[in-house]
Subunit: 132 residues, 2 copies
DNA sequence: TGCGTCACGTAATGTTATTACATGAATTGT
DNA sequence: ACAATTCATGTAATAACATTACGTGACGCA
C-alpha cells in the first residue's frame, strides 16, 4: 500500500472525483476546477493520466468519464480486473471484483496466446433503487 | 434467426464493416462511403444505430469504433454477453462468449437487485501473432 | 385525400481528446 | 556552482467523435 506523492493538479482532480457522487467527464472536472486556476482540458487529462497509472482513478469507457477508485485501501490494481455496474437512471456506479471472472478471462486469453494489458467490464442498467 | 430487411444505407455500412479486417470508426466508415453518396456523419450513425439494434454490429467502447458481428449465424444477441479481445498492435478483434462469465455477472447483478441492459467486456492486449 | 411513420439529406453545433510549443522548478552529475 | 536532464505546468490550436435541429419525399393506411 505505497502512498504516492501527488502533484497539486493531481490532488485537485482526485479531490473533485472523490467528492463526486458519480462519474465525471474530463470537461466537467475542468469546470469544477476553474476557480482553482484550471483553464485547459490538458491540465485535467494530464492529471487523470497519472491518477489512472497509480490506480487511484478508473475510466469508464462506456461513459467517457472517470471515477475515483472505490477500493483504495486494497490497492485496486493488485487484485485483478475491476468491474463496474452503472445505473443509467441515477448514475450511481458500483465497483467490484470477481475472481471467477478473472480466472475465466485468464483461461481464455492463455488458451489463445493473448497477452492482456487492460480489461474493461461495464454493466449498464438500473440499480435496485431505480428499478422499482 | 430472422433475417432483417436492411435499407440502402444500412447495407452499405454493414458491407464496409464486414469487408474490413478490423474495427472502424464512424468517420472512417463515412470516408469509405463518400463515393456512394455519404456526406455527413449522421448518415453513418443512423445506420449503425439500427445495425446495433439488429445485433449485426457491435460497438467497441474502448475504441470508439464498430465491428461486424463475428457470429451472425448464431444470432449473437441470443446467447448472452459478448466479449472482445482487441490486439493493440495489429488491431485484430476476437469475439467470444463465455457462459461462466455470464452466470457470474448475472449472479452478481441478481444479488444486488441490479437490472442489466447492456454489458461491455473488452480485453486490450497483444494477440498471439504480435506477442512474439 | 389527409395523416402518421420512416428513411433520408444537410447544416450546425456540442463533446471528448490530442498535438505542438513554451516556461520554470527540481534533480542529477561534475 | 554549473550544465544537463527530467518533470510538472501553461496556453493555443486542432483533431476526433457524436448529437440536435430542421426539412423533404416515400409509403401505408384510414
Ligand atoms: Zn478500484
Ligand atoms: Zn439508480
Ligand atoms: Zn456478435
Ligand atoms: Zn496482433
Amino acid at each position: 500500500m505505497s502512498t504516492v506523492n501527488l502533484t497539486k493538479n493531481q490532488t485537485l482532480v482526485l479531490d473533485v472525483l472523490t467528492r463526486s457522487e458519480g462519474p465525471l467527464s474530463a470537461y466537467t472536472i475542468l469546470d469544477k476546477l476553474r476557480d482553482h486556476g484550471f483553464r485547459a482540458p490538458l491540465q485535467v487529462y494530464r492529471a487523470l493520466e497519472k491518477l489512472l497509472e497509480f490506480g487511484l482513478v478508473h475510466r469508464l469507457e462506456s461513459l467517457n468519464s472517470f471515477v475515483a477508485c472505490a477500493h483504495r485501501e486494497h490497492a485496486c490494481c493488485s487484485h485483478g480486473t475491476v468491474a463496474f455496474a452503472i445505473c443509467e437512471s441515477c448514475g450511481q456506479v458500483s465497483e467490484f471484483h470477481d475472481h471467477v471472472i478473472d480466472d475465466q478471462l485468464n483461461s481464455w486469453t492463455r488458451g489463445k496466446g493473448f497477452k492482456p494489458s487492460k480489461t474493461t467490464i461495464e454493466i449498464r442498467g438500473l440499480c435496485a433503487a431505480c428499478n422499482i
